[in-house]
Structure formats: C-alpha cells, structure tokens
Symmetry: C2
Subunit: 299 residues, 2 copies
C-alpha cells in the first residue's frame, strides 16, 4: 500500500463549446496523471474533469488546468440549468488510496491559496476543508450563485478563505474542497409527474429528514417523458447505494410508481460495489479481497 493516490474533480462553467475540452486536454497531457473523465453537458452548460495520480502531480495539474479554464471562460455570458458561481466552479480533492482526510485538506488549502492569489479569484473552502461549519455545505457557499456573489462578498460573514475579497466579474468565485469520493446516482421513475420526484427527493435526503449522507433533487426529463430523483451520495460508507435506491423505491411505491432504470454518473470506488454485492446477494461478509483483480492492484 505504498503509493498515495489523490483524485481531483474540477467542474467548469462551460458545457457547449467542444473546443473547451480540447484546450483542457492539451494541459492535462502535460502531467503524469490518469484522466478518468472529461465531459460536458449542454443543458447544465458545465464540464466535469476527473484525474488522479500521485498527490504532487495532481496538485500541479489542478493548478494548470483550472488556470487555463479561467482564461477561456467569461461568466458574464453564462447561463445553464446547474447552480454555479464561478468559471472554475468547484475543485474538490478526494483521497483514493494511502491518504488521510487531514492530508487531503492540507493539499486542498495549499492549492486554493495558490489558485486564488495567482488568478485574483475569491475562494471559499468547503466540505472537509471548510474553515467554519457555515461553509461545509457547498449549497450554502454557492447560494446566490454568480449573480449574487458581488453582494455576498460584502457580507461580514463571507470573508474569503483565500484571494481577494472583491468580486471578479469575469471569473466569479471558486469553491475548493476536500471530500470523500462522491457518488452521483440517479433514479428514473415511470411517471411524468415531477411532483412525485420532488416529494421522493425531499423524503430521502438528509435535509428533509431522510438519509444522513444523501443530497437529492427531483426533476423532469422532458425528452423522455419521465422524472428523476438525482442523488449525490456524499459518504458511501455511511449511506451505501442500495440503501438510497431501496428507500427511493419504497417512497415511489406510495404513488404506485416503479423504478425504470438508474444511472451512475462518473466513477465509483470499488468499495462501493462491495456493499452492492453484500446487500443484494445477501452475503453479509462479502469482501473485495474475494475479487481476483483486487490482488493485482499496485502496492
């Protein structure tokens, strides 16, 4: 278990210009990191990037790729369905192997300071890297979005964690964090009634009295004539995927609605599948060491 593996998943406010991804790719190729995902969504007008490797390489690559995005994006022209407050909207660092959360927080804050100072962008630290509990939750940090940030930065309790206190009109504000691997899991329901999805989202999410490590929202997928409960599982050890899915299923039954299919967006750690096998196959002590390939992973 020698090698330390860190992951970084920056989100950018550009989801419509394919040339943008090409520009990011040019930067990513200059670093010894493994790029797992680089994709964009036109409705959200947002791009996601996932890469991992040794901590030093990941930190250097994160700085280069986010600084390039700052040059390319002008927030004054940005519209899209996804909440956002900056060109480089969020930069979470995620410990995958051999790193503690404390070490990850230290890396995130070092990155945040360098990014803020060199680009002149206000930065807030969030999740495990937060400097106060009021900034732990990204939704609280981002509330008001890009359009409300100039005012938010004048509020006494929103002193920046790094960079200038003054709003940056072109680039907005960036949130830099450290967190557990996040699982984006969507449940599509056999109904066109968006109220059903919204009610279920409220019931299953932590904020609504539901599962501690679940964030959820209900939305309509107009093209398909169905609705979706879109969830973020922020700690798959505390709230495993099967528990979230089966609670959605149970709440959907209240409306006589069944699950059409699910989507896993992006990546999951192998350990998250351990719970899937253990729950559904009813193997109480199932263990990833029973997977052949586990023994071929680097030490």
């Amino acid at each position: 278990m020698g090698a330390k593996i860190l992951q970084c998943v920056p989100n950018f406010s550009e989801g419509r210009d394919p040339g943008f991804l090409n520009e990011l790719e040019v930067v990513l190729q200059q670093f010894p990191v493994k790029v797992l995902d680089l994709s964009m969504d036109a409705d959200h007008n947002r791009a996601d990037c996932t890469f991992l490797g040794e901590p030093d390489a990941v930190e250097a690559c994160a700085f280069a790729v986010t600084s390039r995005a700052v040059e390319l994006i002008d927030m004054r022209r940005h519209t899209g369905a996804h909440p956002r407050m900056g060109a480089v909207d969020v930069v979470p660092f995620v410990p995958i192997r051999g790193l503690t959360m404390d070490e990850t927080v230290e890396i995130a804050r070092a990155f945040g300071n360098e990014f803020a100072d060199k680009n002149g962008i206000p930065v807030f630290f969030y999740e495990e890297a937060c400097t106060s509990e009021a900034r732990r939750n990204l939704a609280d940090v981002r509330r008001g979005e890009y359009e409300g940030m100039a005012e938010k930065l004048r509020a006494p309790n929103w002193t920046v964690d790094a960079g200038p206190q003054a709003f940056n009109e072109q680039s907005g504000v960036t949130a830099v964090g450290a967190r557990m691997p996040l699982i984006a899991f969507n449940v599509n329901l056999q109904t066109d009634d968006v109220e059903v999805a919204k009610n279920i989202a409220t019931a299953v999410r932590h904020a609504g009295g539901g599962l501690r490590y679940v964030k959820a929202m209900g939305l309509g997928l107009e093209d398909e004539g169905i609705v979706q409960v879109s969830m973020n599982l922020v700690n798959y050890q505390g709230t495993p995927i099967p528990r979230a899915l089966e609670l959605v299923r149970a709440e959907a039954a209240r409306y006589g609605v069944s699950v059409k299919e699910c989507e896993l967006v992006g990546m999951v750690p192998l350990e998250a599948l351990q719970e899937v096998a253990s729950y559904y196959l009813q193997i109480p002590d199932f263990d990833m060491t029973q997977v052949i390939e586990y023994h071929l992973l680097p030490d």
Copy 2:
C-alpha cells in the same frame, strides 16, 4: 493490457492434516506467483489452492505443487463427502487476463503430459481441454470415483489422454482442464427440509432443464438447521450471478421458503460484479471502467 495472467486452482484429496497445507506453502513460495487461497475442508477431506501470475511461472508452480501432493497423499486411506478420483483430483487452468481459451488449453495439455509422465499417473483432459465431448463434463470423467477407476481404465472408451493406462493405486487418476473462472455460489434457505433444496437444485441446474451454465445440488446444513442450494456457475457471462440467485428465490417461493443468506466461496472476477451492479441497481450499461481502481490495474 500487456501482462498475461493465468490462474490455476488444483484440488487435493487431503482436508484434515494441517501439515499438508504447510508443505504446499513451502513449494508455492518458490515461485513468482500470487497465492489467493490455500484452504481445506475436513468434511470434504479436500484442499483447494488458487494462485495466479504469468503463464510460465504458473505452469512451473503447478507442476511442483501437484508433484509434492502426490508424494504426500495415499488414496488407499481416503474417505470424504466430496466426489474424488485422485490425490491430485483436478487441475484447472483459468485465463484471467490477456489469454485466449485456446492458449489456455495448450498450457493445460502441456502441463497434463508432464505431470502424467513424471508421476506415472493416468490423466484425463476435461472442459475446454477435453479431447472428446464425453470428457467435457468433470462429473462424467470422475464417475465411479477413486474406487471405480481401475475398472474404468479398462473400458475401451476411457483411454487416457496422458500418462499410463494402468491404474495408480496410491495416487488414483487426475483430471486436467481449462475453463472459464468458476463461481461457487451457495444459497442458504430458511427451512430444514432438504427435499426443498434438492428440488430447487434440480429446477435451476442445466441437467434438470434449468440455466445453461449452472450446476447445482441441494444439501442439508445440519449444524445450522437449514438447507443449501450449492451452485457452480461455470460461465458467469452466460449465466450471471443475479439470474441464478433470483431463479432460486422464485423456486423457493413455491414452498413459501425465503433466502436466509448466500455465500460466495473463493474468488470472482471483477467482471462478475458488473452484472450484479447492472441488474440490481438497474443500470443497463454499467461498465467496470466506472470503477476507479479499474484504471489502476497493471497494463
């Protein structure tokens, strides 16, 4: 995807003397292979060993460890619950990565010839390494067990594939094969009626009109007061784990019996878990490239 990875899973007719496993361990340590499992079962009076690595190393190690077992085991004194015909009962080779089944068959037959000639033991090739369809199924090859082998070897259609035609009283007969990774999956049922387990086993297995790649038997677990459908899934791509489990569950419902828990014995390839996640999480296009660690496997 450069490295070729071969697995070998020899089964030995000794499950009661802990010193036996120590002897095998001494041999295994002399080769650059990864030992995934080395265990024995007293009721079955049988030991299992699973190791993997580059094909040349695995073949050499298989020869050394099986030859040592031949020295240590005398079949004239062997009794046990599990069907068996030799000291080194079966030696299956399994392609894990970068090897075709044809290449694996070639390795199995080369090993079988060397093992048979140097130890003076009759060998039959089975499964994908078989030389005729009548020898594909291990149960057909082993029928009569150790006690019936002297007679079987005199039958015209049981000319050996390697080694002497004469019965070896001390070591019996060995089956050498090539096959897909085999998944040993047991379903424990909330009843003490062994007929229920036997009926379900008949219904789900290929021989009884059930699933093509499932072998199954029903047995009582007297200590626990329950029964078990013990399955071998011989091609997890053709018959995935969820299909086998859910068919057992559906047949158990016929008797008002529910599934208490399941057991996965030994190892599974990562790809087998892909189907588990895809089926139960209702993700039609789930893919192991969505697992972070997949990207850290050796090229």
